[in-house]
């Protein structure tokens, strides 16, 4: 048994080769676009940039990340993500608690009301008209309020609460603690992992949200990063971007380089939190799939 069979050794080679190929095909687009963003103007224009930077320079990157529309949209995205995630977590974590008490009258029905919205929704236009009616157009609240409770997230937290030992709650009740008190001083502290996971779900949602801003935000100063990036990628109005720049600054800069650098700069924030994302998201996905 120690000696490997021929067939198994061939299998090994095929396995490692295919996985490496797959990982490489994921990395190569990033490598190319990153290389473009830090290569010299002449190399970008003449198409000499492959997977490695040619004639390394940081001017384009500096230009992109110090340009005021980029910084503004970055601020907008950070604001939405932080405020949105906090509000969503408060509302979702609180709402999930009564929903985890299935024996209480009426809870089953209310749960059904929530679940039904996962299967059927008003759709894009009725939502848009509602936001208009509420006077939320061109307000960052239009991106946060409609997302306050994600039903999937609600169900994940609910099923986590359901699996907590009941004895602690009962003991607290005997001491005369109300349900609100129990929720904040017993349930929340015990639910750290699931709350962390769901916070990340919300944060990634807000950070990446594109349809919301596309529908509701027109003011340039309120455009989140995703919307700004789309504008740059689709029609880089680089002349306008560079209008207040001195000629020196523009030396090494091409529209293509700017596009590449904007894409890379927008990817960095996600890369920074990626280790946490990977760890907690997988947990969350698996909780959700076992008990939805």
């Amino acid at each position: 048994m120690i000696k490997k069979r021929f067939g198994d050794r061939v299998l090994d080679i095929v396995v490692y080769f295919m996985l490496a190929l797959f990982a490489a095909s994921t990395l190569l687009p990033f490598a190319n676009v990153f290389a473009k963003s830090v290569s010299a103007e002449w190399a970008v224009i003449s198409g000499k940039v492959g997977l490695l930077p040619v004639d390394f320079q940081l001017d384009t990157m500096k230009f992109v990340v110090t340009s005021s529309p980029f910084l503004k949209s970055l601020t907008v995205s950070v604001t939405i993500t932080i405020v949105g995630t906090i509000l969503c977590m408060l509302l979702t974590a609180v709402t999930a608690y009564p929903l985890s008490k299935r024996h209480l009258p009426g809870i089953g029905f209310i749960l059904l009301l929530f679940v039904f919205t996962m299967l059927f929704s008003g759709g894009m236009i009725p939502n848009y008209l509602l936001i208009r009616q509420l006077g939320l157009m061109d307000s960052l609240w239009s991106l946060i309020l409609p997302a306050l409770v994600g039903v999937f997230n609600l169900l994940v937290i609910k099923s986590y609460y359901e699996n907590l030992p009941e004895s602690l709650e009962e003991a607290a009740k005997l001491e005369g603690a109300g349900n609100l008190r129990i929720l904040f001083s017993i349930i929340f502290p015990l639910s750290g992992p699931v709350l962390a996971t769901i916070s990340l779900f919300y944060a990634v949602y807000f950070w990446n949200d594109f349809i919301g801003p596309m529908l509701y935000i027109n003011t340039p100063a309120l455009k989140p990063l995703q919307l700004y990036l789309r504008d740059i990628v689709m029609d880089a109005d680089t002349v306008q971007m560079g209008i207040n720049r001195s000629v020196d600054d523009m030396m090494n800069i091409t529209p293509e380089g700017i596009r590449a650098a904007t894409v890379i700069a927008s990817t960095v924030p996600i890369l920074l939190v990626y280790p946490y994302l990977q760890k907690y998201f997988i947990k969350g996905v698996l909780i959700g799939s076992v008990k939805g």
């Binding site: 994921t26 190319n32 198409g47 109300g178 990446n208 990628v233 698996l286």
Partner: protein
């Protein structure tokens, strides 16, 4: 006679009610916790559902839902006769079916391969790399691919021309655009979608492999006779779920990638609703298209869940 009936009613129904009311009153603070969530649910989920009735109106934004004229099924009749909609529906189904046929097996393959890779560092590295695109927005992914697929200076076309070919304008070609959509969708989600199968494989009883190895089964045979049957329910479940989403051909992806030149092959229901509703301000017709979409989607998900319950004993809820 009358008196006795009321008596029996009083004896049965009110007692149950009284019991419920007692529980309700004792847990009033618990129910209060539901108020903000319910308020959200009504305003942002159920009010838009009520808004669907504009699909049966000739809705005018100044007159509102109350003041707009009713037109009955007119918008739906228009929809069934519209060549444009027929094209959009066709595009939706085609792109979705391509994605399912070509992309559904990939995560399973990746999971099987990862299961066979025994070097932990290699496995970890591959997983870390292939999960990454899932966390990036479609705007970023589109930005990446617009860059590498560009006709001037894009690396893919550089390779094509250096091999003696003609540059291809992938994003402006009706022959190529759907392939780009399918490829980028696979590029973004294949790694991530493998997780559920990796977890399923991890749940298979290890003793089976040991006894199979004792009997002289090769690893390929073990994969074929133990691993694949072991994750079959998961495969069926995920496949049914995927069919439930048939009408979502990737609205966000297409919105970030397409342009008028390729509407012909890539305008799908989701993007069509947006173009007609917000571009042409035809709110009523657009809502009718959206409703058509939601109803079919609803039926697909419900029947998928029924099927799954019957054949795998597992369901989404």
């Amino acid at each position: 006679m009358e008196l006795s009936t009321t008596k029996t009613v009083k004896k049965t129904v009110p007692i149950r009610w009284g019991e419920k009311r007692r529980i309700f009153r004792n847990n009033l603070d618990m129910y209060m916790l539901l108020v903000p969530g319910l308020l959200f649910l009504v305003i942002f989920k159920y009010v838009p559902m009520y808004g669907i009735i504009i699909a049966f109106q000739d809705f005018n934004i100044f007159d509102g839902i109350m003041g707009s004229a009713w037109v009955g099924m007119e918008n739906f009749i228009k929809l069934t006769h519209s060549d444009e909609f027929r094209q959009v529906f066709r595009n939706t189904l085609l792109i979705s079916v391509y994605k399912i046929v070509l992309l559904f097996p990939l995560p399973i393959l990746i999971a099987l391969l990862l299961n066979e890779a025994r070097r932990m560092w290699f496995k970890r590295t591959v997983q870390t790399i292939i999960y990454l695109p899932h966390f990036l927005s479609w705007v970023i992914i589109s930005g990446l691919f617009v860059n590498i697929l560009a006709t001037s200076g894009g690396i893919v076309n550089q390779i094509i021309t250096s091999l003696g070919g003609e540059p291809i304008s992938f994003l402006l070609s009706n022959d190529w655009f759907r392939s780009v959509l399918v490829f980028t969708a696979g590029w973004k989600e294949t790694g991530w979608n493998a997780i559920i199968f990796i977890a399923a494989i991890a749940g298979i009883d290890q003793d089976q492999y040991e006894s199979a190895a004792m009997d002289g089964a090769s690893r390929l045979q073990q994969m074929w006779y133990i691993t694949i049957p072991g994750i079959m329910t998961t495969i069926v479940l995920i496949f049914i779920l995927r069919i439930g989403g048939l009408l979502d051909a990737g609205t966000e992806q297409i919105l970030t990638m397409y342009n008028p030149v390729v509407y012909e092959t890539s305008d799908v229901i989701g993007t069509y609703v947006y173009r007609i509703g917000l571009g042409k301000m035809d709110y009523s017709f657009s809502t009718a298209v959206g409703l058509f979409n939601s109803v079919i989607g609803f039926i697909l998900v419900i029947s998928g869940n029924k099927l799954s319950k019957r054949y795998t004993g597992r369901s989404i809820w």
